[in-house]
Amino acid sequence: MNDGHRLSGPLPDPAADAGHPEGHPPRVGFFTDTSVCIGCKACEVACKEWNALPEDGLDLLGQSYDNTGALGASTWRHVAFVEQRAPAMGGAPVDLGMPGIGPPPRSGDGRARTVGEDAENRAEGNGDDDAGALRWLMSSDVCKHCTHAACLDVCPTGALFRTEFGTVVVQDDICNGCGYCVPACPYGVIDIRADNGGAFKCTMCYDRLGVGLEPACAKACPTDSIQFGPLDELRERADRRVAELRELGVDTARLYGEQPDDGVGGDGAFFLLLDEPEIYGLPPDPVVTTRDLPSMWRHAAVAALSVAAGIAASFVVTARRRR
């Protein structure tokens, strides 16, 4: 475990690293191109249908058309909806953030508008005002199937494992609900299901891959916003797509989680975004916590020694006194 690469940094073949023999299938994943997502949520429904997940809440959230909220133990695909004004010329897009939702604007994002302001800010005429054209971003989030998956690393039971496809899957019959994977995930993906105490997340449809089917969500996606395939191919495709969009003047197009040398060694499910990751609820620069584990153990060891030393010292002094 002092071999850095096993805990962080680029890792060409996670499946092999996990001990899958030569000739295992190539690593597969998702390239989610949010620039063509139409927010139909077919992916959410297809996932729940295929995996027989329970309905988890009939609440109107007022987050644009998103009434799902976030990924969770019973929601393995989540489509985010962001309404904003993209400035006519450069500058940061203005998150319209559906007035009244979430905590009041924090310093630094005073740009989030409120109803009142809007009425005033609005320039006359029907043309899009200075604030720029209305943008409605939609993005289908999912488990990233990290190259270095913190959830898997910290799982004490081995319930979470690396499949021959390089994906990360929970074995429900082994999980004892210790909950360690939950705070370990830098993306806030995996969670414990209250009713049965086990941890759940996207399996990349392990059961479908096994029989040569593509994952249900990708299958259902009408616009190919969710593209499934060998990760290498997807990465090339993604690079071409970004170039294409830049050609068309979409300067804000950027890939997220595609690079093998990022904090988690690259995501098995990566994205093409049109704004900063956090706007979609994604961490801007996630790092797998176990990257620092060796150093943690070293500090703990020293601390442990100091316990021993402290105790010993307290007595040694006495011993001398006695003499």
Partner: protein
């Protein structure tokens, strides 16, 4: 983001969006561990660990009274700590799956492999001490437990630090020492209550060392500049940590002044134990706080990117 990203993304975007998230929702999930189970687990583990080692050393340095007391505390602590762990599981019936594999990358796995033999040894030692059966064997396992004791005190620090929770992860250097110190102090406190006064002098020194270590480490954690330490300085967490600091301090003080006064020593013991508890609860709470507010995730990551000159 460093990678695959256009340099011509407007500079403004960074400042404008930093600290923001999707409708202000958390980016991380709340730790699934429950209170009081989890913080108690941290506390008891430390108490038991330090007590076991103390008992062992006391035994070797010919202080049977203190040794016996230490074994009792260690056994009780270990058992209770196992109890809280099992109770905190989503599926307690599968507790033994913890020992299905040994995973160095999982502090909980490593911890379980420490906790299991430790609690077995500690309990056996206590039983033998109590019943007087197999005294020699009893001493040996007692010493074995003592050997595992220090690890018991600090692996729980790694348990917290090895997560994506900013307050915990970012203080992975200090946490083990904070836990070590608080374990010593608590063990000392327990000893002041349970051990014969004759054996108190080493215990007092133990307490001072522990309290000093705990206070130093915790203070270092709180004072850390970057925003991820903010939760330590706010609201309930702040109250808990302050309480912990005061109680531990007072406890240590009483321990010193109360040399010949049983009552004062007892009071010192209680105060030290309470202090240890507050510290553990405080640190655990801080984790939840920093998972709740996305800015603790976004800001530091943004700053890191800025430092790396990603844009």
């Amino acid at each position: 983001m460093r990678h695959g990203e256009t340099p011509n993304v407007p500079e403004a975007a960074t400042s404008a969006t930093s600290g923001r998230s999707y409708y202000g929702r958390p980016i991380l999930k709340q730790p699934a561990w429950k209170t009081p189970d989890a913080p108690l687990y941290l506390f008891l583990g430390g108490l038991a660990g330090a007590s076991a080692t103390t008992a062992a050393v006391a035994d070797l340095t010919g202080r049977p009274g203190l040794a016996r007391a230490g074994r009792y505390v260690a056994a009780a602590g270990a058992t209770a700590s196992v109890g809280t762990l099992v109770h905190d599981l989503g599926r307690p019936a599968r507790f033994l799956h913890m020992l299905r594999v040994f995973k160095p990358t999982s502090p909980l796995s490593v911890g379980s492999w420490i906790l299991a033999p430790f609690s077995a040894a500690a309990t056996a030692a206590a039983v033998s001490a109590a019943t007087g059966v197999l005294p020699r064997w009893g001493r040996t396992v007692g010493i074995a437990a003592g050997a595992l004791g220090p690890a018991m005190c600090t692996y729980t620090a790694v348990l917290l630090a090895d997560t994506a929770i900013p307050v915990w992860h970012e203080s992975y250097r200090e946490l083990p020492f904070a836990f070590a110190g608080s374990a010593l102090a608590s063990a000392g406190g327990a000893a002041l209550l349970a051990a014969p006064p004759a054996d108190h002098p080493p215990v007092r020194r133990l307490v001072v060392v522990g309290a000093a270590l705990e206070l130093a480490a915790v203070t270092r954690i709180e004072r850390r500049k970057d925003i991820t330490a903010e939760p330590y300085r706010k609201g309930r967490v702040r109250t808990l940590l302050t309480a912990g600091r005061v109680l531990t301090g007072v406890g240590a003080g009483l321990a010193l002044v109360g040399r010949r006064n049983r009552a004062l020593s007892a009071l010192a013991g209680v105060s030290l134990l309470a202090g240890g508890l507050c510290t553990r609860f405080g640190i655990f709470e801080a984790g939840h706080e920093s998972a709740r507010d996305p800015k603790y995730v976004v800001r530091p990551q943004r700053d890191r990117l800025a430092r790396q000159g990603g844009r």
